[in-house]
């Protein structure tokens, strides 16, 4: 025994060994190490050496204290390590949950959310997953893409009981605000592998997170539906109000003129009868145009209709619009400036003719006779720009964008016939083609509308 070193230091070295061992070993191993260290100290250093016997009874106390200190240290070290491991795993859990919830926030509909959840579950738990949601009739339907099979009866039971169920796969309920709205079926890979409790708990958290997001999607959907129905109600009311006013005015003229002609005792001369006849025809045509606009708008806004596109020349569409408005444009001079090498455009012709007619009608309504109306077109990359401009008084002050609002009239309370739907239809029709229309003040004075359409319209 090296005299200078002393037993105390040797005890310390043994304790250090125990401590270092506990850093890496589990609880039982650490305890075993503490005991074996104590025995080794006894065997090698406590006289008589190389024997477990103890000469001096005081050494028993030393050995006892050494064992207790070693055990306490081992225990402490092991619990510290446990805590660190738990903290680490909690952090990992938070990270994977955060990653999923961040992607869930971006997803807008239930399908996308299910896809995000399935993808994350696959990455974190090495499992495949299927998301089942109850539809309006309470029938469970898969909303994620997967070929895995699952037990629909078991899924129904999970929905009914609202509790996790583990068979050959793990069935987790997706809870809504009041009841279970769906089930997520997780199949660990390879098949039959079971997950530790901690992973199962994490899976529960995943399911809860997905359920929350699905709930949010449902609420957003409901809010959107409410907003739409409110907008529709507003549109319907305004439409009814405007139509009843704007149809009644020409109807009054028609009924009045008709009743005049119908009275033989008034003995109207031929000229007067002709005037009344023309008035009736004219007003009836106004009403027809108004009706066409209303029907078009209703179709575009509410119908969710698909485009019936076909290839047309801009020349043809412009010519058709001009032909339809011929009589009303009689006192305006028209300049059509279309390059001969314009490409054809794939559009629904009636809608484009309707846009052009409405713009021409407007020009006829809001400009004095003698005004020049210019129609130009140019192709630029994959877009066709068509403009209808006049050198009249231009737009009323204010934002020209307002002109495209439904029922907005450039000059309210005027005797100009219309319900303020013409430009709203132009915009709706242009948007339907994936294009747009805007109003700008002509550099040289007057109003100018610019229509931009994709050369080949995709249904938007």
């Amino acid at each position: 025994m090296p005299e200078g070193f002393g037993l105390v230091n040797i005890i310390m070295i043994y304790l250090l060994g125990t401590t270092l061992g506990a850093l890496r070993l589990g609880r039982m191993a650490s305890v075993a190490l503490a005991i074996s260290n104590m025995l080794a100290f006894d065997f090698f250093f406590v006289p008589p050496v190389f024997s477990f016997d103890v000469e001096d009874i005081r050494y028993l106390f030393t050995l006892g204290a050494m064992l207790i200190v070693a055990l306490v240290i081992a225990n402490l070290m092991v619990s510290i390590r446990r805590h660190r491991e738990v903290a680490d795993s909690r952090e990992r859990r938070t990270a994977v949950l955060y990653a999923m919830s961040r992607e869930l926030t971006v997803a807008t509909d239930a399908k996308a959310m299910a896809a995000v959840a399935v993808q994350h579950i696959c990455a974190v738990f090495h499992s495949t997953a299927i998301v089942l949601m109850a539809d309006a009739h309470g029938v469970l339907k898969s909303i994620s893409v997967s070929e895995d099979s699952f037990d629909i009866e078991l899924a129904k039971e999970v929905v009914a009981r609202g509790e996790r169920c583990i068979k050959d796969a793990i069935y987790l309920p997706l809870r809504g605000s009041r009841r279970v709205k769906g089930v997520i079926v997780v199949c660990p890979q390879p098949a039959g592998r079971s997950l530790p409790t901690e992973q199962l708990n994490l899976l529960d958290t995943f399911a809860a997170q997905l359920a929350l997001s699905l709930q949010r999607a449902r609420l957003a959907e409901a809010a959107e539906a409410a907003r739409l129905s409110e907008e529709r109600a507003l549109l319907r009311n305004t439409l009814l109000a405007s139509i009843s006013h704007d149809l009644r005015t020409p109807l009054t003229t028609i009924a009045g003129a008709g009743s005049l002609i119908a009275q033989p005792e008034y003995a109207l001369n031929v000229d007067r009868r002709a005037t009344l006849g023309r008035l009736i025809e004219h007003k009836a045509r106004d009403m027809t145009r108004l009706l066409t606009n209303v029907l078009d708008l209703v179709q575009i806004e509410f119908g969710g209709r698909a485009l019936r596109s076909d290839w047309h020349t801009v020349d043809d569409l412009v010519a058709l619009a001009l032909r339809g408005c011929e009589s009303r444009l009689a006192q305006r001079s028209i300049i059509v400036d279309l390059p001969s090498d314009l490409p054809l455009i794939s559009v629904e012709p009636t809608l484009i003719v309707q846009i052009l007619s409405n713009l021409l009608e407007n020009a006829a309504k809001y400009t004095p006779p003698g005004t020049t109306i210019t129609i130009c077109a140019a192709a630029c990359e994959e877009r066709m720009m068509i403009s209808v401009a006049d050198d009249g008084p231009g737009f009323p002050p204010g934002d020209p964008e307002r002109l495209f609002d439904k029922f907005y009239r450039g000059r309210s309370e005027s005797n100009i016939v219309g319900v303020g739907l013409g430009l709203a239809i132009c915009r709706a029709a242009a948007n339907l083609h994936g294009g747009n229309i805007r109003a700008v003040n002509n550099p040289g004075g007057g109003a100018r509308f610019e229509i931009s359409l994709p050369v080949s319209a995709r249904d938007s």
Binding site: D316, V336, P349
Partner: protein, 237 residues
């Protein structure tokens, strides 16, 4: 005059429109037979052998398209559709069932009369001979396929343009559907709508005084084209 009075058979169930049509045709030297149902009208057609038939598509007992088909099955009498159905597909369906022209409600009386007279003229004279076609200041010899302007300036039409013009001219004042035009010009091979539009645009540039506002080669949206020779009379309508 009496033996020259043409008989028009009208399938129409609305009393107001019946009255207007009766006045219109009475005032213009036609005899009128009114039928307010398809069944009644078909009997009248066999009984009276009308010179022209006007069909409203929305009849109470049967669809007007059906009536057109039934009449076409045994008679080449010209048929003009008078309908509130404005969708292109429905107009096209009427032509495919065998209608000769289509006037949309609300209609203008003089326009309807002009269309009725035009289909009757075409019916009487049949396919036009390959004569000389005068359009504005252009003169086209359809038989020899030569064209020139009245002031002597040269006018060159490609062979395909000649063929399109010929096909339209044979049905002048009447509508030639896209399908019919393409079959005549290219044969029954494929859908050539884009090419057709380009050729029509090119023909207009050569023949129309103002190609941006054509007076002779008119587009009937979704259905086909119509060649109007006497542009002045059309404009008056």
């Amino acid at each position: 005059m009496t033996e020259a009075m043409h008989l028009v058979l009208v399938f129409e169930d609305d009393p107001g429109i019946q009255e207007i049509l009766r006045m219109l045709f009475d005032a213009n030297g036609f005899r009128v037979v009114m039928a307010d149902t398809a069944a009644r009208g078909e009997q009248d057609a066999r009984l009276h052998r009308p010179d022209v038939v006007i069909v409203d598509l929305g009849l109470p007992d049967r669809d007007g398209l059906n009536v057109i088909g039934a009449i076409r099955a045994w008679s080449p009498v010209p048929i003009v559709v008078l309908s509130a159905r404005t969708a292109e597909a429905q107009r096209l369906a009427a032509f495919e069932a065998g209608a000769d022209d289509y006037v949309m409600k609300p209609f203008s009386a003089p326009e309807l009369l002009a269309r009725v007279r035009a289909v009757m003229r075409r019916h009487v004279r049949g396919d036009l001979p390959m004569g000389i076609l005068e359009l504005g200041d252009a003169s086209i010899d359809l038989g020899r396929r030569v064209a020139h302007r009245r002031d002597g300036r040269e006018l060159r039409l490609t062979p395909l343009e000649h063929r399109i013009l010929e096909t339209l001219a044979r049905q002048r004042d009447g509508i030639v559907t896209h399908a019919a035009l393409m079959t005549e010009v290219w044969g029954p091979v494929r859908d050539n709508t884009r090419a057709l539009r380009v050729y029509i645009a090119s023909l207009r540039r050569k023949l129309e005084v103002d190609p941006s506002r054509p007076r002779h080669i008119l587009t009937e949206l979704g259905v086909g084209y119509r060649l109007v020779v006497d542009a002045a009379s059309q404009a008056a309508n």
